[in-house]
């Protein structure tokens, strides 16, 4: 088997040449490696095990072409692949074994589906003749992942591999992106292909035709509503970033003069400096941005899905407004909020076609109506949060200072909870693709692996993980991955010794009955040290600035633990199930 590979390597010094024909028969495992190379995959996040060992054996000879990162738990591989995908726009790749290897991926796959993140998971499976016999480490991976994948498929023969891999990448990355699982039986990895290897990128699946170019009449109807509106309001979602349509969005916003808010995952699609940027939406979004959804006369949702964290009680959301909904996924139209003018298509394509049809306009007076809410929020929430007089450091002031020191240009990878909301609220995003966080699924433990995934994806950018003390303990073993691969990720733990968001809810809605939210934490710095990662703790306000400088100056991975006020709350807040108009500031 090895001879084949050596000859193969000698014959093909430039393996990335497309549609290469390899004359010697390859094993399924070699075919898989070759397919990944030809697909342009550079990095794999994985963990070996019994049913995937033939693939790992083939990988041994492909180390010069495929950068494999050995994680410490398969969930880490999945989130790392997501982090990678979110900054590159290309599918993140996971390679794991059958049974527990596959089931450990499940959280990450579900996360990728709900946040439309392209991912290809290559999962080992017992040999085809053992399927259904409860063989060692056999799990029904296809059955388990069916509701949480865009597509999944069981490969049972080596010959299928090139075509199915190509299809998997195409499906994961096209249309509304999502995770794809390939369950590869061991015999398919081991056996020789019966035909010569030929890889052709997939460009079409006959039963799957995502509409990229919108119907002209839909565009015209949307343009008509936009031109007639007196108080239009744009809500920007993740779709703008997925479509890489930031420039088109900027041009559209500047021509039409319409104020803009983003969703959590839409953050950084428009620079916070832009005069028409009003803030972000949702349960902990900005005061004005939320309230004005109930005062505008036209809502223009672009690449977003009216999540319940954005709408609050959907029956009380924007009832006065007409709705233009620009979306690539037809199933999102009318799902939560009825659209008067749906436009199905890729955001970039839609905006390009809308541009000539919309009038140049100026909505300054309407934009200024947001400002009275901004002033109130500034006074009641923002100022006390970023320049507090409390004894302990506040999360908001730490994020705010970090934002200034990095000029808003870092990739922020936020975990889930109060620190996530604080990152979204107080980091002033200046560059697109700068917030990587688990939006839809709210997966605690996401940030540490996603951060090194993002760093691998774009080593040129500063990547900073903002993690709570609770979240950190869900995936902290990935410090090992960071250390082993020398990935200079900057990690900040905002430590309040609580599961802060749950505690906040218990305080506000459960009469302060703090039920199992207090944590006895380990010494995080010692733990990091054990993994070979340096770090220090900052507990005093006067040390905060210097501590952040040390973190940012480090050329190696660094962990900064910041001890923050224990019972800080995140405001504004739209309590679950209420109208966005009922937003609370305290």
């Amino acid at each position: 088997m090895n001879t084949t590979v050596i000859e193969l390597t000698a014959e093909k010094p430039q393996p990335a040449v497309p549609s290469a024909k390899l004359l010697k028969p390859l094993t399924g495992a070699e075919a898989l490696m070759q397919a990944l190379v030809e697909e342009g995959v550079e990095t794999i996040f994985g963990y070996p095990g019994g049913a995937i060992m033939p693939v790992y054996d083939a990988l041994y000879d492909y180390q010069d072409r495929l950068n494999h990162i050995l994680v410490r738990h398969e969930q880490g591989a999945a989130h790392a692949a997501e982090g990678y995908a979110r900054v590159t726009g290309r599918a993140g790749v996971c390679l794991v074994t059958s049974g527990p290897g596959a089931t450990n991926l499940v959280t990450g796959i579900a996360d990728a589906l709900i946040d439309s993140t392209p991912m290809v998971c290559l999962v080992g499976q017992v040999a085809v003749k053992l399927l259904g016999t409860d063989a060692f480490q056999e799990t029904d991976v296809i059955g388990i992942t069916m509701p949480i994948t865009k597509w999944n498929y069981q490969i049972t023969s080596a010959d299928e591999i090139p075509e199915i891999v190509a299809k998997a990448f195409y499906l994961a990355q096209s249309g509304r992106p999502g995770p794809v699982v390939l369950d590869i039986t061991k015999n398919a990895q081991q056996e020789l292909m019966t035909k010569s290897f030929h890889y052709q990128k997939c460009e079409k699946v006959s039963s799957y035709r995502p509409r990229l170019v919108p119907k002209q009449e839909q565009v015209e109807k949307a343009a008509e509503l936009i031109n007639k509106a007196r108080k239009p309001y744009i809500l920007v979602g993740h779709g703008v970033l997925i479509s890489k349509a930031e420039k088109e969005l900027l041009a559209f916003v500047e021509k039409t003069g319409i104020p803009v808010a983003t969703t959590l995952l839409g953050q950084s699609a428009l620079s916070v400096d832009h005069p028409l940027y009003t803030g972000w939406l949702g349960m902990h979004g900005n005061y004005g941005s939320n309230v004005m959804t109930n005062q505008c006369d036209l809502l223009i949702g672009i690449g977003m899905r009216f999540d319940d964290r954005v709408t609050g009680n959907a029956d009380l959301f924007a009832r006065q407004a007409k709705v233009v909904h620009i979306e690539i996924d037809p199933a999102e139209i009318d799902k939560v909020i009825k659209a008067d003018a749906p436009v199905i298509g890729d955001v970039k394509e839609v905006l390009n076609r809308l541009m000539p049809l919309v009038n140049e306009n100026d909505h300054t007076a309407w934009r200024n109506e947001f400002r009275k809410y901004d002033d109130i929020e500034d006074e009641k929430v923002t100022k006390p949060a970023i320049a507090p007089t409390t004894e302990k450091i506040k999360m908001a002031e730490a994020i705010n200072l970090l934002s200034k020191k990095t000029r808003g240009e870092a990739v922020m990878v936020a975990d889930v909870g109060q620190h996530q909301m604080m990152t979204s609220a107080y980091y002033e995003f200046k560059k697109p693709h700068s917030l990587v966080t688990s939006g839809g699924l709210g997966t605690m433990g996401f940030a540490l692996p996603a951060a090194f995934g993002a760093k691998v994806g774009d080593p040129s950018r500063e990547v900073i993980a903002i993690i709570g003390d609770g979240c950190f303990q869900m995936t902290l073993q990935e410090l090992g991955t960071i250390a082993q691969n020398k990935l200079p990720v900057k990690i900040i733990i905002l430590n309040n010794n609580y599961l802060g968001m749950v505690r906040q809810w218990q305080q506000l809605f459960f009469e302060r009955r703090y039920s199992f939210v207090e944590l006895q934490n380990p010494d995080f710095i010692t733990i990091a040290k054990g993994f070979g990662i340096t770090g220090h703790t900052c507990a005093q306000r006067e040390d905060l600035s210097a501590s952040l400088d040390t973190l940012l100056a480090s050329e190696t991975p660094y962990l900064l633990e910041i001890i923050v006020e224990q019972e800080e709350n995140v405001f504004p807040m739209v309590p679950a199930g209420t109208s966005v108009a009922d937003i609370r500031l305290e």
Partner: protein
Amino acid sequence: MNTYTICIFTENTIGLLNRITIIFTRRRINIESLTVSETERMGVSRFTIVIKHDSREAVEKLVRQIRKIIEVMAVFGYLNDEIVSNEIALFKIATPLGSKPLDIEYINKNFNAWVVYWQLDYVVIEKTGSEKQIFEFFSYIKPHGILEFVRSGRVAVGKTEKGLVEYLPEYEWEYYL
């Protein structure tokens, strides 16, 4: 509650039935009947799923979610008056010595039902028709003693002039409702 018939055209692949039914399960929609068969086009399967629902909007959303499955080519949701549909039922009726005799001629003429198999002490009667017609016959035959009864579930074709060929192979984003 309205009855909706959902016709789904798919590639004939393993596991697709499961992928389709979990969309119903997740939304707590009960499947009243389900039939699957290959269509006039090779490799293309047709699912006919009958559900009852009080919200047309919810059914429309369901149809859109089904359409998202990669192997699904087209989905059509119909109300009863938009389709020609039928079911088949088999009745195994006890006919021991001395029992009340079956009036086969009456059954043929009035119910369009036929004896398709018989043994000494039972017969199997086939009845095709709507759900309502099948249950009318059920009431009639019940006093004779039903040993076994089975219904096929609905098969249906739409009343539009268009055939499947006109939707395929382009597989445009097309669905009714």
